[in-house]
Subunit: 343 residues, 4 copies
């Protein structure tokens, strides 16, 4: 069961509710969100909770079988809109985030940032810490990469999204990033979710390639119940038997999430399909499917990229894509900003 | 290996090539397509085939490792366009096929046909023979259903697409249908593929829910090598671990097929997602992804449908969907016809 | 709903029940099994069926939500034992079926048959009709292959199991085969299931590579409700994301089926793993898991096999495997026959 | 590329190799294993490495396309045997690890430990830190649970295996555990793998529920290249479309790993199948498949377990299972110890 405290409940009222529950041996576990506090209880009979709903400050008692709570539309009916450097993710605008898979050098990142800006991108992506399947693969430029990202932001004004791969890196990365990314492999890394949940910065939570939509929403619940309400969910393909694409983009997840949750949804077609030939089609499909934005990979010279070269668009292909997206975004009532044109 | 005969090769030249191959013990198996004849050979060394490429009428000798041949863009570079009752599937127009899952009564089908026509649909769908997981479920109205479909065509002018579930039904169903549908469970029913390949009518080949894109293309190769070149491929969702949707719509398959093949691609979002709440989003995504059309389920009263009620749109929802599709189709340069408005 | 008639119900009683149901507009569909007749009804209220349970000859009225009926342990509590040429499949003995993937020549099959016999195999497998993903692959020796199989049976006394790929081939194949095999791709080919259900010969029904256990049981229900009660279920691997093996052997399916059904279960490790290096381990695991038998591929010279060479055991490897199986079979109380030793 | 240093290479030789590589701008990344040091290099031409193979202390230069190195049989041909409290995992004995999913109380754990000991179990399992899909579920007794585990070890002599869910918990858990478990959700939590790789205690690495065998071996490579060679691999079921079982036990993974690696393999049937009815069959199959051991769940009263009750064996069922395993283990030449009988 969950006991949901009122937004205006006082700390004294909360303390009183917890005391009552403890006296009944119920082991209450309060989760302090930014707006509300929710108290979880493992196993309780109706008798155990008699009178609790009437205590001052208590909003309601809800069963856990709905499994997620704060991420659901029942909890908040209007869409969550997250402001990132002027772009309103989850608002009317369709937001494009773009950049290289990994930061490789100042020159590589700066030229990419200028192109992203010129073509109308809103957020610059770039990995400084790279989780890699093999211990012998390129692991990223680490803090050096974060500094290059900050430099690109300073020049172009683009906010940056970059991945955090471990709880102890949260303070460092949060100092640089505008959006903290939790990667697919870490979607159920609960220690990391808890650490990120304690920050007050937007998060991009990627769906694990083995995770159901419900599990992704529960991972987001870790973030929200930890106090971080600025969560964007990211569909990036799931693992199936089909091998023509790197993963299988589950675009219907956008539609499913929109029915269940108030959180914004971003699609990552680059990692989903894994081949540059299919990326643009899936970006166009994402707009039409109702996503709030996309995150895609572009690189000045994909052929020499240290990671994900085969799924990274050249600058020309990226600019063409942006041009083709605008009329579709317009057609579905989700306009994009005009390109600055200067690169 | 495959020996591809020239389009203008004579029967005598073909006979000569076969004779040479037989004399060398190579067991040639000719496949007579509408335009070309392709001769398959199991195992042959280069020595075995010396001189064969130079025989009169022979176009080329190709290895089998490309696995499919006649369906590929190498074989035919321009898109295949299939005329169905005036609609050009694979041409510039985005084509909507709609109707109930199964034909249940004259009244149900006629009212649906009128609505499909009024809202701008181009083809009427409706199953007369229904393959069902349980032997105790509704198996369709069979020939009676075909007659009702023909009646709906007579009144509305809409061509009809309906499923064939067994080789011996091919002559009967082909007499009524404008498009012969091969269902997902039968995608690798080779006896059925061979029987349908001998007809000269358009086919809608649905992807098996366990089938890779390559296997679907090879199933189409059965049809084309059998002589039927009017093949439309249909993505209808694959089976994955995710259970929020009935299947997982693999929209990137549209993009992959367009890279590999000249055949038109139709998307069936109704069977893919299985819930009416997600169908419209996936229809809109299909247009933007580059599909040539969609096939969707609509029913006068989904709540009492004998099959697939939960994924069938009401007439109002169908009409709203059609309205929302037009500007997207326009934005991607694939216009739809205007609705007649009369229903 | 299903109305189950008593085993001793007369034809007149059946006719009476059907008449009552028709008068109520319920469209009864009788399925005549060897022992019982079951009458399916699509949709019926309690009121519609009032008094029907009391009609003479009626055993019970059961809801369809149990989905399968005649294959379940509720319908028959003792295990079904199927006699095939002296071997009792589903009885105490652990039964090994072996032979080549496809019949390729008299010599190839005869030498294999002798080895299978000598090593203690009980049934000879061999495909005469081969369903192949590509139309250009070896399609089997067809009727010629059936004759060679019959010749091998005549010499060795081993009964034969061979695949049927199309309804119109049922009479022909049934004339030669001791066990009619329905392949994985045809598990939901209902026209074929109905045709095989009308025969009175044992069937080996293979699980579709993306079929659930419940769907396999429902496919078996087609056979049983059609009147053929001699059904063996075969687990042969399902399609998953893992590519180290051809498919993923779902050995827990043996355990699940044994809880739900009275039918015997055979495991096909050869097709499941697809590599000779893993076959023997999975055969040994199958015995210990509680399977009633296995079906495996062996070939005099796997390197030149026309199909499935990489998963076919050499004769020596096959004999070694049989030797290693015996003590495990003994340990789980499922003894195997002693090898004749003569080959 | 990987440069493998000789086992007897000196630190000075290593330093010299690194210096040469740095001077050529190759960014060498040494991984110090217990026995060997391996130097990884991202991208290097043949020219870049000319002469390196001849430097003192260098064993060989190997390409990365073999992807894993230290876990492979090429690196070490004899099986790795890991001594845990007297049991030799990977040796001749078949080792059973058992206990509750989570430590819930002193009484619950002590009674279980006594039963595990009495029935012939070799290692006691029990989670103190529980990764849970929902933030509102029981998260384990944490350090309190570790203390209870230590108490059970003190009384019964059984070594303990327990899970670590976060890098910062490694020192604490390593102080209590005999085997540090890395759970399925954390198989690709590289920060955790690195922290555990720095310890010198046995590890049980569970396969991610959507991880390939190759990815599991690469995760083990993180541990080994980090210096921890005492790695056991654990197959615990993968996620598939089949829902009759919680996951699908991929028993062929045992066979595949044994072909590729020298590391011991443990099977966890409890989490794989998720229902007590199927656990015993899969334990028996695991022995026959060639696994080195199993890890299973047993609980004094499964009905009231705080987690995984439906897959936990009662004490009686556990004892019966152990009795049934012994003759199979004997039959495959992997004897188990005799039960002490006192509980």
């Amino acid at each position: 069961m969950i006991i949901v405290m009122n937004e205006n409940a006082t700390v004294a009222q909360l303390g009183q509710v917890i005391k009552v529950l403890e006296e009944r041996g119920l082991n209450p576990r309060p989760n302090h969100g930014s707006a509300r506090t929710v108290i979880g209880i493992m196993k309780a009979s109706d008798a155990d909770l008699s009178g609790v709903a009437e205590l001052p400050g208590v909003d309601e008692i809800a069963p856990l079988n709905s499994s997620f709570k704060m991420v659901s539309k029942d909890f908040r009916s209007e869409p969550t809109v997250i402001n990132v450097g002027g772009a309103e993710v989850g608002g009317r605008e369709f937001v494009v985030m773009a950049g290289p898979c990994g930061v490789e050098s100042t020159e590589q990142l700066m030229s990419t940032a200028r192109q992203v800006k010129a073509s109308g991108g809103r957020v610059l992506r770039g990995g400084a810490y790279k989780p890699r399947t093999s211990p012998y693969s390129f692991q990223g430029m680490r803090e050096e990469g974060l500094k290059i990202l900050a430099q690109a932001r300073a020049e172009t004004g683009l906010p940056i999204v970059t991945e955090i791969i471990s709880p102890e890196l949260v303070p460092l990365v949060a100092r640089y990033a505008d959006i903290m990314q939790i990667g697919a492999r870490n979607m159920q890394n609960y220690a990391l979710l808890e650490a990120v949940g304690r920050e007050r910065k937007p998060v991009l939570l990627k769906r694990g390639l083995m995770s159901t939509i419900e599990e992704m929403l529960l991972a987001a619940e870790y973030l929200m119940s930890g106090g971080n309400a600025q969560v964007m969910l990211c569909e990036r393909g799931i693992r199936t038997f089909e091998k023509a694409t790197r993963n299988t983009l589950d675009l219907s997840a956008v539609s499913v999430i929109k029915q269940l949750s108030h959180l914004p949804v971003i699609v990552d077609p680059s990692h989903a399909v894994g081949h540059v030939a299919y990326v643009a089609d899936m970006c166009r499909a994402s707009v039409a499917a109702g996503a709030d934005g996309i995150i895609i990979e572009t690189h000045p010279n994909p052929a020499v990229a240290l990671s994900d070269g085969q799924q990274s668009l050249t600058f020309d292909a990226f600019d063409d894509l942006m041009t083709s997206l605008r009329p579709i975004a317009q057609a579905v009532g989700r306009p994009m900003i005009e390109p600055s044109g200067e690169s």
